[in-house]
């Protein structure tokens, strides 16, 4: 846990103000180097701050990178996605021991209906004599998503950064996408959610997927709101064993917060694969096989799902 906290704070440290410093305040050698990765437009609104050297400086608000109240992006922007990115996840099955911290964090942050889960941790066993293992599943964010193919109203859509999202203000609740998804990753809000007023009053955003709406479909969204803030998805940050790696395929790197790898090397060295490759869905989630496991497979004493019913 400790390890993980550190990595999280690291993360803020490295991302905060990066935009500022690189966009022209200080670096001596190349102050005006174009920086495609932080496409921040100055907002015109400045704040006065104290520099480390004890001088008062003025900074455009847009460059302060984890702004506590980052404005949510418009629906149009949320449908296009973050420019230049192609998000990817790598799940290392050898590290998973079914702690379900990922699930708990995801459920908590997205205010999912009790009993339902966007992340599931499956006890898998391919055949009678093969080894059992835990397989966490998120939405696969397929590059050729069967769910998006069948959506009649553009309520679920594929973005240029590879993320498949749902517009719960658009969804008509036909549930065709649920039938089409071979990974059973989609859930439906069968009844009105009992949410705190502060949450239910929030305007819905496709990027936060909060608040979920009755009569619409929900699923894992790869937390693009967190990524925009320079943060990692909730499940990645919550996993104490570093099972989940997240990153940008264009940058060719994935990280679980504490460790960062070149995506291509990691998948090559550890023989990464994707689920149900034969279906041609081209998932964005890669799995590393459960070899040299960190933990023995201990079956759940009692199906935890029973208590929710």
């Amino acid at each position: 846990m400790k390890n993980n906290d550190t990595s999280r704070r690291d993360f803020i440290a490295s991302s905060v103000l990066a935009g500022l410093t690189l966009a022209g305040c200080s670096t001596k050698d190349n102050p005006f180097e174009p920086d495609i990765q932080d496409q921040v437009q100055p907002s015109g609104e400045t704040v006065k701050l104290l520099s480390v050297n004890g001088e008062v400086i003025e900074v455009d608000k847009a460059f302060l990178k984890p702004v506590p109240d980052l404005p949510t992006v418009s629906n149009e922007a949320a449908r296009i996605g973050i420019p230049g990115k192609k998000f990817v996840m790598v799940i290392d099955l050898s590290r998973c021991k079914n702690l379900k911290k990922c699930q708990a964090s995801c459920n908590h942050m997205h205010h999912i209906h009790p009993g339902q889960n966007w992340i599931k941790v499956y006890p898998m066993q391919e055949a009678e004599h093969t080894a059992p293992y835990w397989q966490p599943t998120t939405c696969m964010h397929c590059d050729e998503p069967p769910c998006v193919k069948v959506c009649p109203v553009d309520a679920t859509f594929k973005r240029q950064d590879g993320i498949v999202l749902i517009d719960s203000e658009r969804c008509v609740g036909c549930r065709f996408c649920m039938a089409a998804c071979p990974y059973s990753t989609r859930v439906f809000n069968w009844e009105k959610l009992d949410l705190p007023k502060a949450i239910s009053d929030k305007p819905y955003s496709c990027e936060t997927s909060v608040p979920q709406k009755i009569g619409t479909v929900g699923k894992c969204d790869f937390c693009p709101d967190m990524v925009r803030k320079g943060d990692l998805p909730h499940c990645v940050a919550a996993c104490p064993n570093g099972v989940f790696f997240f990153g940008d395929m264009n940058e060719d790197s994935v990280t679980n917060g504490a460790e960062t790898f070149r995506f291509s090397e990691l998948v090559k060295d550890k023989s990464g694969y994707r689920l149900m490759e034969d279906l041609g869905t081209k998932p964005s989630v890669y799995y590393l096989p459960p070899v040299n496991r960190n933990f023995p497979f201990e079956p759940e004493e009692q199906d935890t799902t029973q208590k929710n019913s």
């Binding site: 690291d10 410093t21 480390v52 302060l64």
Partner: protein, 287 residues
């Protein structure tokens, strides 16, 4: 019978005391921790985290109002207030009002307090740091040099034997420049690292951001320095977002589908419209 009732009474009494004790213990202890962050010796800020042990495990506590002070917890030294987010974290950029206090000494202390609430007692945390900075530079043949300095009285002096991380900044994490993640500073406060990440994608112009950092150091806090270098390859972003596919958005369906669908609809509906015209014709004949 009598015995029974007295037992019942005793149980009741015990319950009462127990419950009472419980309601007193309901207020949990709030733990605050502070981190100091400084990037490229420019803007610096504090992150405070509120935690509490509830039901035997630590939980991050959101919506805690925190007051940040410099030097001591008095009103003139108030830096500002912030409320913890869903992850129990609150961030505060150091405001210009702290100028005098900050410039007084090379060592600084920060105090974060929360007042008592229904759930928690009041809590305080203190962090002491020594001002420090990292300089990052490059040498020929893709070598990186990072140097750590601390402020002593009014002079920056190199710090030796501190582990510095030298890496490439990536989304959500830092990728080591070679197999070695951290280096210990020498007597000049410097570390040298060789860049060995061949053909790593950079930005649109092939630039990478190098980062040298100190994590949660007990004396200096979290210090980073960054530098752009043209050592990467130009990023390639291939997306079929604007292609006409079956999984594209509305208005982007494949041509064959559009052609097929619209021609069928047109054909059938022109027949139907023709027939409706025929109804009109029959009507005309009957007038």
């Amino acid at each position: 019978m009598k015995l029974n009732s007295s037992i019942a009474f005793a149980v009741l009494l015990f319950n009462f005391i127990g419950l009472n004790a419980f309601s007193q213990a309901e207020k949990n202890e709030l733990t605050i921790s502070i981190g100091y962050y400084n990037n490229n010796s420019q803007i610096h800020y504090l992150v405070a985290q509120a935690k509490s042990k509830i039901d035997g495990r630590f939980q991050q506590i959101p919506n805690v109002a925190l007051s940040f002070y410099i030097t001591n917890a008095t009103i003139p030294n108030l830096l500002g207030k912030a409320v913890t987010n869903e992850k129990g974290e609150a961030l505060l950029l150091i405001p210009p009002s702290a100028k005098n206090e900050w410039n007084k000494s090379a060592k600084q202390s920060f105090i974060v307090t929360s007042s008592a609430s229904k759930q928690f007692d009041e809590a305080t945390a203190t962090l002491e740091i020594t001002k420090a900075k990292i300089m990052i530079d490059t040498l020929p043949d893709k070598n990186i040099v990072a140097t750590l300095f601390e402020l002593m009285d009014s002079a920056w002096v190199p710090v030796k034997e501190v582990d510095l991380k030298v890496a490439i900044k990536r989304l959500g994490g830092d990728l080591n420049v070679n197999e070695t993640p951290t280096y210990s500073t020498d007597s000049l406060g410097a570390v040298a690292a060789e860049f060995k990440r061949e053909k790593l994608p950079g930005d649109a112009n092939g630039y990478l951001t190098l980062i040298a950092k100190l994590d949660e150091h007990e004396i200096y806090g979290n210090i980073t320095a960054e530098k752009l270098v043209p050592w990467g390859v130009v990023i390639k972003h291939a997306s079929n977002f604007d292609k006409r596919t079956l999984f594209a958005r509305r208005g982007h369906s494949p041509w064959w589908l559009e052609l097929l669908a619209y021609s069928i609809v047109l054909a059938v509906w022109s027949i139907l419209i023709y027939l409706i015209v025929q109804i009109k014709n029959i009507k005309k004949l009957g007038v």
